[in-house]
């Protein structure tokens, strides 16, 4: 006898839910496993005095957005527009939009 449509649907949904639950559980375990690696990376940040993640290497101000100057991304010429793709992808760093010390 062919299975009922409701059994197929509910079984499929339960399967997807179980798969998602498995992934979420796995992510928790992976985070726990990565704790040592993250600690080692934090130590590396302290030793090398790093400020940024290496995600975008095409422009200085997207490679090191945390320390970028206030003239970016319009720095290449007066009235020059942002032209690096990564500059258009990310939001402005906190120190460019909030209050900051100094006028530079």
């Amino acid at each position: 006898m062919a299975p009922r449509n409701s059994a197929l649907y509910l079984g499929g949904t339960a399967g997807l839910l179980a798969l998602l639950a498995g992934l979420l559980t796995g992510s928790g375990l992976a985070v726990a496993d990565a704790r040592d690696e993250l600690s080692r990376n934090a130590r590396l940040v302290r030793e090398l005095e790093l400020t940024d993640l290496c995600i975008f290497t095409e422009a200085a101000y997207t490679r090191h957005p945390a320390v970028t100057d206030l003239a970016t991304a319009f720095q290449d010429a007066p009235a020059s527009f942002e032209h690096f793709p990564s500059g258009a992808l990310v939001g402005p760093p906190a120190h460019l939009t909030g209050n900051h010390v100094g006028s530079h």
Partner: protein
């Protein structure tokens, strides 16, 4: 109890048969819906994982960095500033930091050169990040040539390749001895790229920063809190990545909702009329439509989230790579730690499943309350 369950099962049986009767249309709808959820979930997983990883590793970044600017641009900072800044109350230590960029014209790649505070490589040797090692196919013991600031060739022996696990921080790094860096970059003695400060009390960051600017008006201090907030802002809702994708998804949902809310097809109306004529109650029809909406939206949600998870954490967000890479030659093959924010997932659920289910029920309620005879005509 079992009677109520059996009733629901019969309605689901009918709902699934009804969906399967319009296989092509519903299949296409489910595919597009799943794709939208997949893209939203991918962006959500990616941005959250990057933000969490940044917060965890960059909490050890320098407490205060002091740059010198001239006409809005960085300038090398005199090392003599160290003395006056180091005397500010609350500053434990101030030291010059040397770092900069190098554009490798042969490989069209940008590298970040860093002079470590301690354990600098031997003279004539460098430590390189795994990204540079991959791009240049250079390994321990190999010699790499660069062109110095004065056009003279420099050759460095690779002392070691930095660990692969730190690639999200070090893929493009070159660690170099101070004397080598000064000769290579041309930064004059007595100057550094910026200054790094250690402070006794984190609550004094702002006060110390203000004192630095008062003492040296040509400087710009950057405190650790700003560094930590950077990645939240970079991948926050104002970022282009999030706004464009979420904007497109919202528009797609508006089209879905519009299509559903503006009425049913004549075939669907006829189906409702027949059901009413054979004795279905309005509540039964609405229940069927609820299951129909839920079947499509919940399946799309679950499949989209699962695919998004696999995309971001198992394939290193392969579909985003061309976007994130931009014009970069050196792109870190980073595998993010799967940090998941359950609140984000719940939000995604309510934004994707609930509106669709509701917009499926509303027009059906209108059709189900009309006389069956007039609906079927």
């Amino acid at each position: 109890m079992s009677g109520a369950i059996e009733r629901q099962l019969h309605i689901i049986d009918f709902t699934v048969s009804s969906l399967l009767r319009r296989k092509g249309k519903n299949g296409a709808l489910l595919t597009v819906y799943t794709l939208i959820v997949f893209i939203l979930a991918s962006v959500m997983f990616f941005t959250h994982a990057v933000k969490r990883e940044a917060a965890l590793v960059l909490r050890e970044s320098p407490e205060i960095i002091v740059q010198r600017t001239l006409t809005g641009r960085y300038q090398p900072i005199p090392i003599s500033y160290v003395e006056s800044i180091g005397e500010i109350r609350g500053v434990i230590s101030a030291r010059p930091r040397l770092w900069g960029y190098y554009y490798d014209a042969n490989f069209l790649a940008n590298y970040t050169l860093v002079v470590p505070a301690d354990q600098q490589p031997e003279a004539g040797t460098i430590d390189i990040g795994s990204g540079i090692s991959r791009v240049r196919e250079a390994f321990r013991g190999d010699t790499i040539g660069f062109t110095g600031h004065d056009g003279k060739p420099f050759a460095f022996v690779v002392n070691r390749v930095l660990e692969e696990e730190s690639r999200l921080l070090t893929a493009d790094l070159i660690l170099m001895r101070e004397a080598d860096y000064r000769a290579f970059s041309g930064i004059p003695p007595g100057y550094a790229t910026d200054l790094v400060l250690k402070v006794r009390n984190p609550r004094e960051y702002t006060t110390i920063a203000e004192k630095i600017v008062k003492l040296h008006p040509d400087t710009r201090p950057i405190v650790r809190d700003e560094i930590l907030r950077t990645y939240d802002a970079l991948f926050g809702w104002r970022s282009g990545l999030v706004i464009v994708i979420f904007g497109a998804a919202v528009l797609a949902f508006v089209i879905f909702a519009w299509d559903k809310a503006t009425g049913l097809s004549s075939e669907e109306k006829k189906e409702i009329g027949i059901l009413k004529a054979v004795g279905w109650e309005t509540s039964d029809v609405l229940l069927m439509k609820f299951w129909e909406g839920l079947a499509v939206s919940l399946t799309a949600f679950l499949a989209g989230v699962i695919l998004g998870y696999c995309h971001v954490f198992f394939t290193s967000a392969a579909l985003f790579a061309p976007v994130i890479k931009g014009w970069s030659t050196l792109y870190p093959d980073f595998r993010l730690v799967p940090f998941i924010d359950l609140a984000d997932l719940v939000t995604l659920f309510f934004f994707t499943v609930v509106p669709y289910t509701v917009t499926t029920i509303v027009p059906s309620w209108r059709a189900a309350t009309i006389d069956p005879d007039s609906v079927m005509r």
